[in-house]
Amino acid sequence: MNPAHEGRAGLAAVFVSVVQRDLLLAVRRRADVLTSFFFFIIVVSLFPLGVGPEPNTLREIAPGVVWVAALLASMLALQRLLASDYADGTLEQLALSAQPLTLLVLAKILAHWLVTGIPLVLIAPLLGLQFDLPVEGLVAMTAGLLLGTPVLSLVGAIGAALTLGVRGAGGLVALLVLPLYIPVLIFGAGAVSAAVSGQSVEGHMSLLAAFLLFSLAAAPWASAAAIRIAVE
C-alpha cells in the first residue's frame, strides 16, 4: 500500500478524530469550559446592576457590553487551546502528522469554537433581555455573534500559538489578540445598534462574513507556522 495515498484518503478521518478528541477533553474538563461561559454571563449581568435600570441607557450600552464581554470570554478560553497540547507533546505529534498541520490546527480551532463560541451565541439573546433590547436587536446580536465568534477563535489561535512556551503567556495573549479583535467588535456591536434604530444590518453582516472568510483562510496557516517554530 502506498502510504502517501493512504494518507490523503485519511485526511477527513484524522480531522474528525482531532475534533472528537478535543470535544471529549472539554467534556472531561467541564469546569474550564464553564468558567469562561459564566464569566460572560456575569460580566454582562453586572452592567444593568451598576448602571441602573434606565431602559434607554441600557439599550444604548447593550451592544458594546455584550460584545466586549464576548471578546474577553473568548480570550480567557484561549490558553486551553494549545498550551496543554504543547506541554504534553501532543502538538509535536500533530506537527509530525502526515496530514497538513494547517488543517489539523483548523480542527482544533473548530472544536474550541464549538465549546466556547456556540454557548455564547445561544445565551446572548437571553442576556440581551436584561438590557431591554427589542427583538430586531436580539436577532442582529445573535447573527453577529454567530459570524463573529469563529473569527475570535481563529485570530485567537494565532496569539495562542505565538505565545507557546512563553512565561506569562496569558497576559501576552491579551496584548497580542485584543487589538486584532477591534474590527469584529466595531461591526458586531454596530450591527446591533443599527438594528435597534431600525436601519439595515446587511453591511455590518457582510463585513463580519468577510472577516470570517479572511481569517478562515489565513489564521490556521499562520498558527501552524507559529506552532512549527514553537516545537523546534
Binding site: Q20, D88, G89, Q93, A95, L96, S97, A98, Q99
Partner: protein, 197 residues
Amino acid sequence: MRGQRRLFGDLNFRVPPGEALWVSGPNGSGKTSLLRMLCTLLAPEAGEVRWRGRPVRSLGEAYRAELVYLGHAPAVKDDLSGLENLRFALAQEGRRVSEAALVDALRSFGLAGREDLPARVLSQGQRRRVSLARLLFCGDRPLWILDEPLTALDAQAVELVRALISGHLGRDGLVVLTSHQEVDLSGVKVQQLRMVG
C-alpha cells in the same frame, strides 16, 4: 546548534534497512536534538537529512508518513483513559483499530484492567507503556525514532520493547533510539553513535 552553543558537527552516518542506530552519550550532548533533526522537528544549522537518498525537507509529508517518533513527552492526556489515548494517537495517523485490538495491545503492555483509568492516575512507567503500545500498530512505517524509550520501564517492559524493535528490524525497518541504559539488542545489527558532551 542550540542557542549559541554548537552541540555537534561533522557528523555523517547512514542507516541501512534492518539496522538500528543507538545514539548514546551524556546528558546535554545533543542526542534529543539529533533525533528531532531526523524527524524534521528541528532544522539543522548546516547539513541535511536524507531519506531514500532525498532530502527530508523536500519530501515533507511523504516522509512524515513513513516515520514514527516517540519523544520525551509521551503525548498522553491526563484526562483520557489509556484506551482513549491509544485510540486517538492511532486515529491521528489515519488508523482505525478495533476496540478489541486496542485492549489487546494495552494488555500485552501489562495494562490489563487499567485500560479505562484516566492516565492521570497511572504511574510514569505506565504512561510510557501507553505511548509505546502505539508501536504495535506501526509496523508499516519503516522508520522508528525513539527518544529514551526505556526510561521508567521495568525489566519486563524493557524486554517487550526490545522484542518490538527486533521484530521491526526483522521486517527491514529502521530504528533510531537513544538510551542511557545498555541495550541488549543481541541478534540484530546495531550501529552505535557515541556523542561526547
